[in-house]
Symmetry: C2
Subunit: 341 residues, 2 copies
């Protein structure tokens, strides 16, 4: 009397959950290879332990990168090992970049806990990031047929650093005049900082799974487009999002004077002077939000995000992928950005 | 009326100079690929420019790693390109590790100039290190037949991080008792922190030059032994070296309470209690130096260094290498450690 097999496609939550369960043992095995002290910092940053090593179940990330890596391998019929190896590498790179970015940005908390540099000190957190970076490279260097994978990983690493450099520098650029940040430059930043590793995840899974270069490139492209869309949607939520959903105060990004996509679009219109004055004053963020919306910043952002998601979908449609996996990838896309568009 | 060709073997200074001239254009080309802001920090750390970008000719390092990479390729008859590519990768890794180590150690100056984190800030210096690391990986990932090279590089990266972790932790360990640092643990640290990248340099040059695995492994071993010897000789100079030669005050490492090899050997003898008292007081470093010498710390250190150099030479002798290059490698060994032994 077993239930008939369900024909409903899996939800994004199910996909993320399944992939996390697949990857977690491999990720733990990799982290166990680190120097014990560095390994504890790594485990802390994954939410697996407290300072001192006591077990914890702090919330980790959603696990989008590891899911993309697993799905990338499955989409091309690669062995399970290909997906988990790629997933471990990209999760290590992601953890490295969070550790170092939190130092550079001076962020005191992440996911409700002190950041690693606050918990362990700046020097040790620099070291832990370096160790995760080195371990990611080692993971791929040891994988069979790792050479094309290493090129994908090293390109993503270079892009991540480039994106972070732009991000740090953009904060000091003016709202107005020839030195202002243009929306195009911001899209390049979003691709480097967010898209490169999402693309690398899916592409690395496929590459280690034995996919031909055109399929690898299509998955890379899809992940990059997804990253840009995700960043822009995040920007829209940072201004107009419901605090109950985003977990941040309303208009948070305006108060923080962040150079986000809707703001940069509005600064390219005749309201620029008025908007810059409001942003500089740091007061009346609701008036700034209304002005950005009036200037078309919000709708332009949503339009751009939709365009990027369409580009991601058409990159996926252009290459042969396992149909079931393609549906799971679609569920992820919808979960990450679709609901807001 | 040209002079007859000299038959004298080249001096170490000539070898280092020749290799620096070969590598410099390739290293500049690699650094030019970085984000401009990050590239300036990299150029500053190489001594090529001042803060702001004005050209400078600040002293760089001796260039031992790049020379070993070039000689590694030449020793196996590899193309010049193999040596310079390997040299660029190891110099980038070396620069990365100096940048981050200076942050972790809080060192304010290096080679007579403010360290990068003092000149540009901690966050930017973290980023510049990350960028150099990523560029090193990219350099090898793009090289033909880079897969074995990448395994060498990733092993060295892992060892470097492990050595730095031990180094930071050893500072907090006691002089006496079961938790003290043993000489064996210190030798492992020296191999990781100094030997791994010297070994990687020579081995990477040979690997990219098409050498068989036994030759690659022998060059790796020789570089690692050289690194341990070099570190121990440096420790001896840090206690008994002539300030006019070392550029540091006499007994400098004793005053700084450094856990160096001669000290750790002496702490394994009956003078341990007396020595710990002197070291903790920070006074009368000349008495501590005399006590270490009396306990055999100095002679044990020199003996260990000699043993390591002999091991390096026999690793080289066991594999077929170009005779002229082997002489150049010998000149380097002699220059780096032989004069003190």
């Amino acid at each position: 009397m077993t239930a008939a097999p369900s024909t409903a496609p899996p939800t994004a939550a199910q996909v993320l959950h399944r992939c996390r369960d697949l990857v977690r043992p491999e990720l733990e095995r990799a982290v166990a290879r680190l120097h014990p002290w560095v390994g504890e910092m790594a485990a802390y940053s994954f939410g697996w332990c407290e300072v001192g090593g006591a077990p914890a179940t702090a919330p980790g990330g959603k696990g989008v990168r590891q899911a993309l890596a697993v799905l990338g391998a499955e989409a091309v019929g690669g062995p399970a090992r290909a997906g988990t190896t790629a997933a471990v590498a990209v999760e290590l790179v992601h953890a490295f970049s969070l550790l170092h970015d939190d130092i550079m940005d001076g962020d005191p908390t992440r996911r409700g806990r002190p950041t690693a540099w606050r918990a362990y000190g700046t020097g040790p957190a620099v070291l832990a990031g370096d160790a995760l970076f080195a371990l990611a490279v080692e993971t791929i260097a040891e994988a069979p047929a790792g050479a094309p994978g290493l090129r994908l990983l090293s390109t993503a690493l270079g892009d991540l650093v480039r994106g972070q450099a732009d991000d740090l520098q953009f904060a000091d650029r003016p709202w107005l005049g020839p030195d202002r940040v243009r929306p195009e430059a911001y899209r390049a930043l979003a691709e480097h900082k967010t898209g490169a590793l999402l693309g690398c995840a899916a592409a690395l899974g496929a590459a280690l799974g034995g996919a031909p270069p055109t399929t690898v490139a299509a998955l890379d492209r899809a992940g990059r487009e997804l990253g840009i869309a995700f960043q822009i949607v995040d920007d829209v939520l940072g201004v107009w999002g419901d605090p109950a959903v985003t977990g941040k105060p309303v208009h948070n990004d305006l108060r923080a004077r962040k150079k986000t996509y809707p703001v940069l679009v509005a600064l390219d219109t005749p309201v620029a002077g008025r908007l810059a004055g409001l942003l500089d004053s740091g007061e009346r963020p609701e008036a700034a939000a209304a002005l950005i919306e009036e200037a078309g910043g919000r709708s332009a952002a949503l339009r751009e995000a939709r365009r990027r998601i369409a580009a991601a979908r058409s990159a996926l449609a252009a290459v042969p992928l396992d149909a079931g996996t393609e549906r799971e990838l679609g569920a992820l896309l919808e979960f990450l950005v679709g609901r807001q568009l």
